[in-house]
């Protein structure tokens, strides 16, 4: 509250009209503080991460920090197994969720009759609200035994995590992709049909390319959801910090993700120890990865020829 009043006092002399309109002035101040504070908070988070995590980058040689052995008891802090775990689980989740999510969105947005859409949409929104711990529990109790029966040595594998994560990121992908399709002007579809395109040709060659920026965002947010998820993944991936052996079984062995490592070990480390700052270093790497994903999404959306047309429909 004090902050709000302070900013109002600064603004008042520079804006003569606002003196006559206190309500306006107050609201503007509140909004300004809210907007700036979110930026400040992000900045502070990053500074805090850096402060706690930087010692790891300074004290451990980079080769060791990104090495293949993660045995904190022996002071071996190699992040590679964790990076690999996150990568495998996320890639698996995206490979599963992407086609499923996009086709569902296309079905809902372009093909399904209105009454089916009315049913599907709220159901998918409910899916988004299921707590991740519940999904993790389900994965542990129901999915893992199933996967073990498929022939994996244990049911708690990267693939189990991918399945759960895919399921978790589906609502995000579907609802954002569907919004993107909805924003494509109706005239494009009519124009395509009027030349003799089939409905599928109109969707594939006109609607999807026109919706591409939104679809890219949908996918990127889905990936972001997958890579940052902790609880569910921790429960079902087996938590073995080993470099997975390459080959056809790569998805069917236990892995440990970066997020799960932080969550599992943070409670047991001495504050200020090397182990402690290494966990923060993992956080920094995660932070950088999610920035990279956002940046990539921005690049893909802003690519040549992707400019959005004038919106607004006739009739």
């Amino acid at each position: 509250m004090a902050v709000v009043q302070k900013s109002s006092q600064i603004d008042a002399p520079t804006d003569a009209t606002s003196q006559t309109n206190w309500g306006e002035w107050f609201i503007e101040g509140v909004i300004k503080v809210a907007g700036i504070s979110s930026i400040v908070i992000i900045g502070l988070i990053f500074l805090f991460l850096l402060r706690e995590g930087l010692p790891a980058f300074l004290d451990i040689p980079l080769r060791q920090l990104f090495g293949t052995r993660w045995y904190p008891i022996e002071d071996a802090f190699g992040m590679a197994p964790l990076l690999a775990g996150s990568l495998i689980v996320t890639v698996g989740a995206v490979v599963i969720a992407l086609p499923l999510g996009l086709t569902t969105a296309i079905y809902m947005g372009e093909i399904a009759p209105p009454w089916q859409r009315e049913i599907l949409k709220p159901i998918i929104e409910v899916l988004a609200g299921i707590p991740s711990i519940v999904l993790g529990f389900l994965g542990w109790i129901a999915l893992a035994p199933l996967i073990q029966r498929l022939g994996a040595p244990t049911g708690l594998t990267a693939f189990t995590g991918s399945l759960i994560l895919a399921y978790m990121s589906l609502p995000t992908i579907i609802s954002i992709a569907e919004d993107a399709l909805y924003a494509v002007p109706k005239e494009y579809r009519g124009g395509a049909l009027a030349i003799g395109a089939t409905q599928w040709q109109s969707i594939w060659r006109v609607v999807l390319p026109a919706a591409r920026p939104g679809l890219v965002i949908a996918v990127m947010l889905g990936i972001g959801r997958a890579i940052g998820e902790t609880m569910a993944v921790m429960m079902v991936t087996g938590n073995a910090a080993n470099i997975p052996s390459l080959g056809s079984g790569i998805f069917f062995q236990p892995v440990r993700t970066m997020t799960a490592t932080i969550a599992a070990e943070m409670g047991e480390v001495a504050q200020g120890s090397l182990h402690y700052s290494t966990l923060f270093a993992i956080g920094i790497v995660l932070f950088v990865i999610s920035f990279a994903i956002n940046w990539l999404a921005g690049r893909l959306v802003g690519m040549k020829g992707m400019r959005r047309s004038r919106r607004g429909g006739m009739l």
Binding site: E187, G191, S309
Partner: protein
């Protein structure tokens, strides 16, 4: 001249609302037929019935026959997708796809599988753009986005896109309503040239445009075809009092 399209006992419904009432109408080959009337009179609905674009609206129903080259397009066995290759449509607002100029024109030939080789496609795109009087303006920037064109050029691009699949009939739904007078005249010039090769049906609320650019004119009122005649006769000697009142500006 032959009748390209013959409409018989045709009615059309949006749910319970009857938008078109028992129409009889002949569209002549290689002529421009204008449909005029006040907003909501059913002229655009009728136009969209001629290539069954209204099929995409739920809850609509058509009765009667529309013969295109002697075949009823509302017969059960008709392939609507193929029908629309023969009866193309240009819309009220220019609706180029957000793709390159080239890809817009090549869209039709690609989806219907007309041009197998790249060189054929190039030729078809050039012919269509020439046919739409746009080639000279865009030949050096075929890879640019179609959305960079001005509205008049966009509408001619949409016409080029339509003629690229070599239709027999082109339906135009108020194609100039979003254009300025200069662009309007260039589209009208284009229509006159296209009429040598194609049959054109145009809906317009601009009576001067109908008088200037068409050979035949039909006057719609509340879902009925009040009068149909050569444009010259309809405007100089209207038979129905309603037609006269409308074209002289006393009704509508």
């Amino acid at each position: 001249m032959n009748n390209k399209i013959e409409v018989r006992e045709f009615s059309f419904y949006y749910g319970a609302f009857q938008a078109l009432k028992n129409l009889y109408l002949d569209i002549r080959e290689n002529a421009i037929t204008a449909l005029i009337g006040p907003s909501g009179c059913g002229k655009s609905t009728f136009l969209r019935c001629l290539n069954r674009m209204n099929d995409t609206i739920r809850g609509t129903r058509a009765e009667g026959q529309v013969f295109f080259d002697g075949r009823d397009i509302y017969a059960p066995a008709v392939d609507v997708v193929e029908l629309r290759q023969h009866i193309g449509m240009v819309f009220q607002r220019p609706n180029p796809f957000p793709q390159s100029i080239y890809d817009n024109v090549a869209f039709g030939p690609r989806v219907v599988g007309m041009a197998a080789r790249r060189s054929e496609l190039d030729r078809l795109v050039q012919e269509s753009l020439e046919g739409a009087a746009l080639w000279d303006e865009v030949k050096h920037r075929l890879r640019d986005s179609a959305l960079d064109l001005n509205p008049g050029q966009q509408q001619r691009l949409c016409i080029a896109r339509t003629i690229a699949v070599k239709p027999k009939v082109i339906l135009m739904d108020e194609p100039c309503s979003a254009l300025d007078p200069v662009a309007t005249l260039s589209v009208e010039d284009l229509m006159r040239r296209l009429a040598q090769e194609y049959t054109i049906v145009i809906v317009t609320h601009n009576m001067q445009q109908a008088a200037r650019a068409s050979h035949y004119t039909g006057f719609f009122w509340l879902g009925e075809l009040v009068e149909f005649n050569t444009t010259e006769n309809l405007f100089s000697a209207p038979k129905a009092p309603l037609t006269e009142a409308y074209i002289t500006g006393r009704r509508g």
